[in-house]
Amino acid sequence: MALLSFIALGVAASAQAQDPDYHAQGNPITATWSVDHRELAEDETLLATLTIRGATNPQEIVRPELGTMKAFTDQFRRIENGAESRAGEVSFTYRLQPRDPKTNRLPSLDFPYSRPGESRPTQSTRVKGIDLVVTAAVPKPELKPPPVPMTDPEELFSITTGPQVLRREPFSPSRSTWLALLLAGPLVGLTWFLVWRQLYPDAARRAHLQRTRAARRALETLRHSQDAGIVVLRYLRERFQLPHEAVTPADIESSLQGEKVSAENANAVEEFFRQCDAARFAPVSDSDLSLRDEASVLIARLEARA
């Protein structure tokens, strides 16, 4: 049986001779290619298996390196070694990716070996190539990353719309506006004053009277005082230099006439003080109010004629 064994020495692609580098004994060796499919796209991988039968030294058979053989590198862009098996027959697997759609064949391979006792290979077996059909790669759909939602604050997503967006700058008063306001205050006040004086001449006259110090003080005091007679007497002393000893209505009247007060006004003053005396000694009544009013009128009258 040992005579039937051969020594496998080496392997070479049909297009490229290669020196054998291992030995084995056995019967004539056979080697075949097998592939998982004969039609494939250019971007797919072909699983090719080289099976060697009849070698008596399977452990010593060296895997043919297809990546160094031009016949294979011309046809395939990627050549990777796969699993191998040495149980009885030897098989080597390869993963091959065609270079392009022009790839049409798994190339043939020469497998030289020697008989027992021979130091150099004298025999060779040819591994027949396999025709392939390679089609263009089907374009793969572009993988888009999953959309990422925006997480900005909600208020950023709302805007003002409409013509108000195109309004000009907000109002800012100019110097002339401020000047107009400055003048408007006194003008409005003056207008009001003139109208008021036109509509209420008596009130205006009273107001004029109030400008004299004595009259103003007397009128102010009259608002709160219970004794109108004393207020008017104090006013007369201040305003007309009425002597302090003049306290009776008659004395007051005669003193006023000496101070260039008209007889009519002097009489009015005398009459007022008589009413005051009458009110002072009379029972409780509401004469205070009327006396205060009369006092106001009297002061106004004296101021007007003074």
Partner: protein
Amino acid sequence: MNRLAILALLLSPLPASACNDSLLAEAEAAFARGVEQRSDAVTAKASFRLAANRYDELWRRGHHSPALALNRARAHQLAGDLPGAIAAYHEGLTIARFDYSLQRGLEAARTAVAYPHDGALADECKPSTFTTIRTRLSPLEAFAIAASLWLSSCLLVVRWRMTRRLNLLFAASLGLLALLTLGLSWWQAGERLHVEGARPLVIVRELSFLHRGNADAYPVRFEQKLPCGVEARALTERGGWVQVELAGGAVGWFPRHAVIVLDERGPV
């Protein structure tokens, strides 16, 4: 395809005669589209970028309203342009310092700036905010208050002249005192703004080192780069570099292309 169309619109020159209304309509439509597309940030940002571009053009054409400033700031921020948003808020506040929405928007945008949490740079680059009467009252409101105080004071004086009642004169004095206080506060706030505005505002647009001189060869002031959106004040400009002073007082140089410079008239 959609993005290509937006890109084409972005790049297309705007005719000078383009009607402002149609420009506004384009901006609003783009913004609305962005809101609809917000579930996809990439697509939505392209729409917001278009809206920001259109709002910017309206601003350049002189439509300086607080509403437009707020819209463009929000569009910039949603488009991912934080420095642009901060610049838009500042420009809006230049014309409407009292606008609460713009003030709040600026504060919110500043919180989005990636300021360092610690170290010297953290203290240096955080902007300070100040509140004055001009940030609380609009010129119209101030004018209305001043007018009320002045007119009522004048009328009170006239009434006093009629009646000689001293309490009227007292009330008029109080009114004038309030008016004086308002005027002084307004003037003081104006002076402060004037001092602030004398130096253009600088906003960092690209992550950059602050150099000690106006070239890359000069050493950096801080080991970290300054984040986008940091605000500073420009001191001078030389050879494509801008010298700035940070809020904390540190002075250094930025490449001109890395910053937005704003002055009273807008971005330079």
